[in-house]
């Protein structure tokens, strides 16, 4: 089995999930509670990766991060190295690709928190950030967990975007799914089979654990 590729995939999935947790929670909060009239446009953009072929997304990200374009040039000027075909470039594509898998569950969970609980917190003198931390987040723990697990699992199995942006550099951008593809191309079915089985097992364990944890930790009261 290609342990180097496994390591790259796990590293990428962990980094993507972390970025989505940090950036996705505020974005989901805004989407759930903002009265902004044109919010639907942002919602549509966030959900685009669900319907767009990974190659299309990969193409645009690759173009955007290329040193020929302002974003890519700025990055290259600041760090001295270009983004395409690096782990960092891969991370950017991966975050965008998994965005709806994190933000949608976060957002549904926040929207499901009873508005009366939020108002109770405000009138008890607790500000919006405190209310988010002490009421909304704990009551959304299942949705947040779902988002985290889906992002992780989704990134682990990613292929198209990775190939477009990262290429196939062992130890840096060659992920498990690309390793499997390479093995099949080289007619090494035994190696492809082992890696595939490994990916299947990991994905199943992660999802099964999530569903097990999703049982309500406390009874949610709707009427007295």
């Amino acid at each position: 089995m290609d342990w180097t590729a496994v390591l790259v995939s796990v590293k990428l999935a962990a980094a993507t999930t972390t970025v989505l947790l940090v950036a996705g929670l505020p974005l989901a909060y805004w989407l759930a509670y903002s009265p902004f009239r044109f919010k639907f446009l942002i919602e549509a953009i966030v959900s685009l990766p669900l319907v767009l072929p990974p190659t299309v997304l990969g193409f645009y990200v690759l173009t955007a991060i290329s040193p020929a374009n302002p974003v890519g040039r700025l990055y290259a000027d600041l760090t001295g190295a270009p983004l395409p075909f690096t782990f960092s470039g891969l991370l950017i594509g991966s975050v965008l690709y998994s965005l709806p898998f994190a933000v949608q569950p976060f957002c549904s969970a926040f929207a499901a928190v009873d508005q009366r609980l939020i108002e109770a917190s405000w009138s008890l003198g607790v500000d919006r950030v405190g209310t988010f931390r002490r009421v909304i987040l704990p009551l959304s723990v299942r949705g947040v967990t779902t988002g985290v697990v889906l992002s992780f699992a989704h990134t682990l199995g990613e292929f198209g975007v990775v190939l477009m942006i990262g290429g196939n550099l062992p130890g840096s951008t060659r992920t498990v799914s690309i390793s499997i593809y390479d093995s099949v191309q080289a007619l090494d079915f035994a190696r492809a089979g082992t890696t595939s089985a490994f990916l299947l097992a990991i994905s199943f364990i992660v999802l099964a654990t999530t569903y097990a944890l999703q049982r309500s930790p406390w009874p949610i009261r709707t009427t007295p």
Binding site: L117, P219, R221
Partner: protein, 365 residues
């Protein structure tokens, strides 16, 4: 008018998408321990007023001041957020945080943890929930739930308590007990309170002042006695309900029956528990429960036989509403056939008969 420092003043216009508009205005003294009841039918705009006071709903126009502080001034662009108003806002469940214990719920908004540790236990004992501190909100009864919500609001040291139908969805017995306890708690805490209700018993039992809200405006404001005794007009009377409600004084108590002094007359009312002589109550009588007889009255099991003179008769569809003067004003609802058979007309002398159980007593706040 009242001392400017203890008044609640509001004058609002709130337009809702779809066309509904409410435009209430109020100017009432709210000293510590006093209760203002916003009374009226569902949809009249009571809860919107309360939400504007809490800082949870921002009207388009107007001004709110409480004890001299400006909370809202549309013209000046002032809007104090709920966090900085220090109000205790209690509504129907669910409002307790389901992931926190009762103790954590009560301590949630307390200003500092060290002080709240003592405060929580004290408040819990006062609200009779001392045994429940380690339970979760999902594990307590409806009445207990609202007691915890009250204790939690109080733990944050509010300057003003806002209670929106806090007893709705509770059964009758729980409601009665909680209402009685709430009255003494609010007195003890010495916090001014605005209570929203469409329940007459709540209003009579708790109001120092009563504001009748109908159609999005405050129609009448005064003491409960003034408002129920002299409704401004037919609409206010309709909002208040059709019962005869008269202030009375307990004269004495004899085996489950309270003998009340009402104006010049005496009225017997059954009471579930003994009432001390001198206790101030409201006697509430439904017009349907009053039976009219030609004098002299025949012997019957009914405890009240009141000599009366008919002062007016108004037809209400199948029945006639007969207003009587029997030392106080009393309405009776009788069929036209019965009225014609008995020859009841304006000025006639009749005997109004009603059972002691038909006289509903509400303790005056």
């Amino acid at each position: 008018m009242a001392d400017p420092d203890d008044a609640l003043r509001l004058d609002l216009v709130r337009r809702f998408p779809g066309g509904a508009t409410i435009a209430p205005a109020l100017d009432v003294p709210m000293p510590g321990g006093s209760t203002l009841v916003l009374f009226g039918p569902s949809g009249a705009g009571k809860s919107t007023i309360l939400r504007a006071l809490a800082g949870l709903d921002r009207p388009q126009e107007g001004r709110i001041t409480f004890h001299g502080d400006v909370w809202f001034d549309a013209a000046a662009g002032t809007w104090v957020p709920p966090q900085r108003r220090r109000v205790g806002y209690v509504t129907q469940a669910p409002t307790l945080f389901p992931h926190l214990s009762v103790r954590q719920n009560i301590a949630y908004g307390a200003p500092d943890v060290a002080a709240s540790e003592v405060g929580v236990d004290e408040l819990a004992v006062m609200c009779q929930i001392g045994e429940l501190l380690d339970r979760r909100p999902g594990e307590i009864s409806g009445g207990q739930y609202q007691r915890v919500a009250l204790a939690r609001a109080m733990a944050a040291r509010p300057r003003l308590m806002l209670l929106d139908e806090p007893f709705a969805s509770l059964d009758f017995a729980t409601r009665t007990r909680l209402r009685a306890d709430l009255r003494s708690l609010l007195r003890e805490w010495h916090v001014p309170t605005v209570l929203v209700t469409h329940d007459r018993t709540d209003a009579l039992a708790l109001a120092d002042r009563l504001a009748v809200v109908a159609g999005g405006v405050v129609r009448q404001c005064g003491t409960a006695e003034e408002v129920f005794g002299r409704p401004l007009d037919v609409e206010v009377a309709g909002a208040l309900g059709v019962e005869t409600i008269v202030p009375a004084l307990v004269d004495r108590f004899e085996s489950d029956v309270a003998i009340l002094r009402v104006g010049q007359g005496l009225l017997r009312a059954s009471a579930p528990e003994p009432l001390a002589p001198g206790t101030r109550v409201f006697a509430c009588i439904r017009a349907e429960d009053v039976v009219l007889q030609r004098p002299p009255a025949a012997a019957s099991s009914a405890r009240n036989h009141l000599d009366a003179r008919v002062s007016s008769i108004v037809s209400e569809g199948t029945a006639d509403r007969v207003t009587l003067d029997c030392g106080f004003s009393l309405d009776a609802l009788v069929t036209r056939q019965a009225r014609e058979e008995l020859g009841i007309s304006v000025g006639a002398r009749v005997v109004a008969v009603l059972k002691a159980t038909a006289v509903h007593l509400v303790l005056r706040g």
